[in-house]
């Protein structure tokens, strides 16, 4: 059933993928055999993904799974050669279609997949010369590795969903379909918070909120730099995201520091109205009309709920800016990620001049690629 020799690439692979294989590829079905509760199926309706999470029980990232499978070194090498040949056949095809990954990047991902899948990473370099039947312990069945790599190439399933994690700052965060993969750009929000906490110790010992937390990345990053009195409340509308965030919080033993609440933006925060010392968010900010043209990994697999910011991309950002005045204590800090220059400048002007309760020290902060990415400031 698993077509090892299958290297033909098609643009519409999602629709042409054999049904028999499709039914076996849900990563959750390989780990958890739970029926999908209708309640959550209804809640996750707006999430467009190819393999829908079947329950809010978070999946375990590949590298954390027990090594209960094994394969001979030479079979694993065969898989690697097959996977490499597919990656090579991609060339610059995806780059031309939608600025997707090229062969070099795919080969790097293949190496990372292998590192996550084997029990002992030191076997990876041995693969090149392996011609023996020695057994290697694996965290996934070798047949599953074939399926996973096919999904990567043919469906353009994001590498992070394949391995179930993303390396972000110094963290390794669990991610799965239905949860936005945290971006390198967003790492800076934690640095920005670190700076203001360093300058004003009071901020480090108060309550912070991370709205639309997704995998919990920002909340966990901040939770690790706050003082002993500090705390982060992280909210997300998606039950899948909330459960994945809770899983990640637990993995970093931050249950006392980071609290996950399921709900939309400020709704779960009634009890801390006007009491927050900090408010951060990476809300959906892509204008709706651009969603269709996104690279396949993003547009076809990541939750639209976490990407689509409405007509001009600022529906949620404006909601957050308006709410910030009500939620923040005087002197409280906020930092929001945006789509770029246009949104940054609009929001900075809006926050400085258009709101009754104004903010001070409103700034636009560039990301490492030189794009105006964040709006920050303080409540008066």
């Amino acid at each position: 059933m698993i077509c090892r020799g299958f290297v033909v690439l098609e643009r519409e692979m999602n629709s042409s993928f054999p049904r028999a294989i499709r039914s076996t590829i849900s990563p959750s079905s390989l780990v958890f055999k739970r029926p999908k509760p209708p309640f959550f199926a209804a809640l996750s309706r707006s999430i467009s993904v190819s393999s829908m999470p079947t329950s809010p029980n978070p999946q375990i990232p590949l590298f954390l799974r027990p090594p209960k499978f094994s394969s001979t070194l030479s079979d694993l090498q065969k898989w690697q050669e097959w996977a490499k040949s597919i990656a090579l056949s991609v060339g610059s095809k995806f780059v031309d279609i939608d600025n997707g990954p090229d062969t070099i990047l795919l080969c790097r991902e293949l190496k990372w997949l292998l590192e996550d899948a084997v029990e002992d990473k030191s076997t990876v370099p041995e693969l090149g010369s392996a011609k023996n039947g020695r057994l290697v312990r694996l965290k996934a069945d070798i047949e599953e590795l074939y399926v996973l790599w096919k999904q990567r190439i043919e469906e353009r399933r994001p590498f992070q969903y394949i391995v179930g994690c993303e390396h972000w700052r110094d963290l390794i965060l669990s991610v799965q379909e239905g949860v936005l993969i945290p971006r390198p750009e967003t790492e800076l929000i934690v640095d920005l918070v670190g700076e203001v906490v360093l300058e004003n110790k009071g901020l480090g010992d108060g309550i912070w909120a991370d709205l639309g937390t997704g995998s919990g990345a920002i909340a966990i990053g901040i939770g690790r730099i706050l003082g002993s009195g500090g705390k982060v409340i992280a909210t997300d509308l998606s039950p899948v995201a909330a459960s994945v965030a809770a899983y990640n919080v637990e993995r970093y033993e931050l249950q006392d520091k980071v609290e996950i609440r399921q709900g939309s933006w400020f709704e779960p925060l009634d009890d801390v109205k006007g009491a927050l010392v900090g408010l951060v968010s990476n809300p959906p900010y892509i204008p709706s009309h651009l969603i269709l043209g996104l690279q396949a990994e993003v547009g076809k697999h990541e939750p639209r709920l976490a990407l689509d910011g409405g007509e001009n991309g600022m529906d949620d950002l404006l909601h957050l800016c308006k709410g910030a005045a009500l939620m923040l204590k005087p002197g409280g800090f906020f930092a929001f990620e945006t789509n770029g220059e246009k949104q940054c400048e609009f929001l900075a002007d809006f926050l400085t001049n258009k709101l009754e309760t104004s903010f001070h020290n409103v700034k636009v902060v560039y990301d490492f690629a030189g794009i105006q990415r964040f709006v920050t400031g303080f409540h008066n």
């Binding site: 997707g100 790097r108 790492e187 800076l188 892509i286 770029g340 409103v362 902060v365």
Partner: protein, 231 residues
């Protein structure tokens, strides 16, 4: 050359460009955050020396944070919207050390964070390899960081030097820099350098050959002087 001093007039405590509504009308001036722009620094001695007269030892003595403060960091891409639009694991990092112009980069790790740390470690090696401190050979005594990378049989070593530090130890770059300073001061002669270090020529050669970047730096110097490379 007199002891070079890096005098910090002040490092910027504010990282971020403040919002100026008219900014976008004058070309994009990229103000990279976390770059801790150095407002000004003066160097007491700009004469001589391989890299404009700075003391490389001063750079290597800086903490990661301080060294990062002297660098411009970018992530190789400046086109496209980035952020939520992209999934390309573009975690590659390039650091440019502003005072010397030395560039170090790292692409192979999975997180930008780790790439930044790798690039910084690489920068330290490059600073050790490329920025020379002038020595006065008449009064030369090998500094502790150099003695620490020498094999135990060196007659200059004392018991407080501790065990020999190998190339995988982050402290090796400090000793490597001091060793290169000496080898440059004796114009590439391994036997002359060995005498200052209380070692046989063979033992010093083996030390130089134990690290690829050290070997290449020494051989580059030797070939520029018309000497045979160490192998």
């Amino acid at each position: 050359m007199a002891q070079t001093l890096l005098k910090w007039v002040g490092t910027s405590s504010r990282l971020f460009g403040s919002f100026k509504p008219a900014l976008h009308t004058h070309g994009l001036q990229v103000q990279v955050p976390f770059q801790r722009q150095i407002k000004a620094f003066t160097l007491s001695d700009r004469g001589g020396g391989g890299a404009g007269g700075y003391s490389g030892r001063d750079f290597l003595a800086l903490s990661d944070e301080q060294l990062m403060g002297q660098c411009e960091m970018d992530t190789f891409k400046a086109s496209g919207p980035g952020g939520q639009h992209r999934n390309k694991r573009e975690s590659a990092v390039r650091l440019k050390h502003v005072p010397t112009g030395i560039v170090a980069q790292a692409v192979e790790d999975r997180s930008q964070h780790k790439n930044r740390a790798s690039a910084l470690a690489r920068l330290r090696t490059l600073l050790a390899l490329k920025v020379r401190n002038k020595l006065n050979l008449d009064e030369y005594r090998p500094p502790l960081e150099l003695l620490q990378i020498l094999p135990a049989k060196s007659t200059m070593r004392t018991s407080d030097c501790g065990p020999q530090i190998g190339p995988n130890n982050p402290k090796f770059v400090l000793g490597m820099q001091a060793l290169l300073d000496l080898i440059f001061a004796v114009d590439g002669s391994i036997s002359d350098a060995a005498k200052y270090l209380g070692l046989s020529t063979g033992a010093l050669s083996r030390l130089i050959l134990s690290d690829d970047s050290l070997r290449m730096a020494v051989n580059e110097l030797r070939s520029s002087k018309g000497m045979r490379p160490l192998t």
